[in-house]
């Protein structure tokens, strides 16, 4: 299943947020979207998942989602969005219950996704007992349980400290190597983008336009060991963004 982002433009009142965004998300590919704060990258992700509607343009689904995919477009949020009153397994079962998966069937799915995210020992824990990295693992487990065709990740590592981020980044690469999921990964962290992205889309400041699309051909699994080569790409991305980031920093926040 591929996604086609077809000429999306968006305005809030007088403010142009996004302008003529066009790109394609192919199956098994991770597309990173980077840009200075306030460039509308999270808004774009909400359009892709159908949580908000753009002023004009469409997001199209090409092809059928894989069989058994309960929720083809599945989010992972920056703030994890776990229900604090449910245990780890309760949070996973929340998204299964509505699809009529209960009892032994749900049990099998929960067992499987918690094993894949190394959470099997924490089934009965409440979110408040978990560290930030563990909470995000629970959110990833929850996302995996519905067999997504595309993961929509909204700065999933930004709320974590840098060591945890590094660990989780390795986990994501490992996960991708096994499952070859496709993802749209929004971040402002260039290091994450060059570690995870097959394609990196650089947005300009408001109104957000695509400034450049950078493709990295190095296999994901090799990137951790070849960071020196990625350094050059990262510097290139930073050069693209620097002035806009500075201008964005100086701007008064009048639009959310």
């Amino acid at each position: 299943m591929d996604l086609v982002i077809d000429n999306i433009t968006h305005r809030y009142g007088q403010t142009d947020v996004l302008e003529n965004i066009n790109f394609e998300l192919k199956s098994g590919e991770i597309v990173c979207i980077i840009g200075p704060s306030g460039c509308g990258k999270s808004t774009l992700l909400r359009f892709i998942g159908g949580l908000e509607r753009p002023t004009s343009g469409r997001v199209l689904i090409a092809g059928e989602p894989p069989a058994g995919s309960l929720n083809p477009l599945t989010y992972i949020f920056q703030d994890f969005a776990l229900l604090p009153w449910r245990t780890v397994e309760g949070n996973v079962s929340l998204v299964l219950e509505d699809h009529g998966i209960r009892g032994d069937k749900a049990e099998a799915v929960i067992e499987d996704v918690l094993r894949r995210t190394k959470l099997s020992d924490f089934r009965k824990a409440l979110p408040r007992q978990l560290s930030g990295g563990m909470k995000q693992r629970v959110a990833i487990a929850r996302a995996l349980s519905v067999n997504p065709a595309v993961m929509l990740m909204d700065e999933p590592l930004s709320a974590l400290d840098s060591q945890t981020r590094e660990l989780l980044l390795d986990d994501l690469v490992e996960l991708w190597s096994r499952e070859k999921f496709s993802a749209c990964y929004v971040t402002h962290n260039l290091a994450e983008a060059v570690r995870l992205g097959h394609k990196i889309i650089v947005l300009s400041r408001r109104p957000g336009r695509i400034r450049q699309v950078v493709e990295i051909n190095m296999p994901l699994a090799e990137r951790a060991g070849r960071l020196a080569e990625l350094e050059e790409t990262q510097r290139h991305l930073w050069n693209l963004m620097r002035d806009e980031a500075r201008a964005a920093d100086m701007e008064l926040a009048d639009v959310a």
Binding site: N71, T74, Y75, D79, A81, L83, R142, E166, L227
Partner: protein, 284 residues
């Protein structure tokens, strides 16, 4: 930069040893501490006992005139009389019945209407002005009307308590719904949860802390209204007992009645505390 790259250069390890402080070095003065709530579980009951003991001593020695304030032992004697004659249960039963029926239905209706206001914009626009207009009216002032509508018997008393608990519950409930983390709702939508599932599994549990603290307030209001309602046309009930004691200046009975109310309030507060512990164990 990644942590991995930092491993590539091996920094020289510095041997660890204790640093000898120069003479005259002083320890950093401690400035923290204080401003912290600590638990003194025994202090509360102790204060009660001390006050009652001083009171009893004052009455025994004649410093406090028995006309102004009866001794605690006399009030205790009045309670013992009530137990002996079986009147205690009659009064308590009548009061508890009115309190539980009025509070239960008032709270249930309040939660329902509060949820409606929280969930539907039309209900919010239509009902919340009425709630704001009726909430500040002392329900006691409406008691004569309630007597006309619901009769002098149980109906008017239950109705007073019901209306009195209804409004604070409505306000607590929709305040709670408004404060549910929007991102959790968005998460529910993004996983394709049905509207009913989002309400049942995300909004109601998320509003529960506010609803329970609303219950705390409405329970106290219910006790105040109970006594007031029982002072009009009730034969039994703690309020009727206090009124009767007041009418014949039996101050020992009056104090006994007031003590029962206070114990009732404490018990309800304790029960709600237990409910919070049980339902909100997920909170830090």
């Amino acid at each position: 930069m990644s942590l991995d790259t930092m491993n590539s250069t091996h920094p020289a390890e510095v041997p660890q040893k204790r640093v000898i402080a120069p003479s005259g070095a002083k320890p950093v003065p401690f400035r923290g501490g204080g401003f912290k709530t600590r638990k003194f579980g025994y202090v509360g009951p102790l204060v009660f006992i001390v006050i009652i003991a001083i009171w009893e001593f004052g009455s025994q020695s004649g410093i406090i005139s028995p006309i102004a304030l009866p001794a605690p032992s006399e009030a205790f004697g009045a309670i013992q009389d009530l137990v002996r004659t079986g009147q205690l249960w009659t009064h308590l039963q009548a009061s508890l019945y009115r309190l539980s029926v009025g509070w239960f239905f008032g709270s249930m209706l309040g939660v329902t209407v509060g949820l409606a206001i929280g969930l539907f914009s039309v209900a919010r626009a239509g009902i919340s002005p009425i709630v704001s207009a009726l909430f500040p009216i002392p329900k006691i002032a409406l008691l004569p009307l309630f007597i006309v509508w619901f009769g002098i018997g149980e109906g008017s008393k239950v109705a007073t308590i019901l209306f009195g608990t209804f409004f604070p519950t409505v306000i607590a409930t929709y305040g709670g719904v408004d404060n549910v983390d929007r991102n959790l709702i968005r998460m529910g939508q993004s996983f394709g949860l049905s509207w009913l599932s989002i309400v049942r599994k995300i909004i109601i549990p998320g509003a529960l802390p506010a609803i329970l603290s609303g219950f705390r307030i409405s329970a106290s209001i219910a006790i105040v209204l109970l006594v007031a309602a029982e002072m009009i046309g009730a034969q039994y009930g703690i309020g009727a007992y206090i009124l009767m004691a007041g009418a014949i200046f039996a101050t020992d009975q009056l104090i006994a009645g007031v003590a029962m109310l206070s114990i009732l309030g404490l018990t309800i507060g304790w029960l709600i505390g237990k409910a919070e512990q049980y339902f909100l164990n997920w909170r830090t």
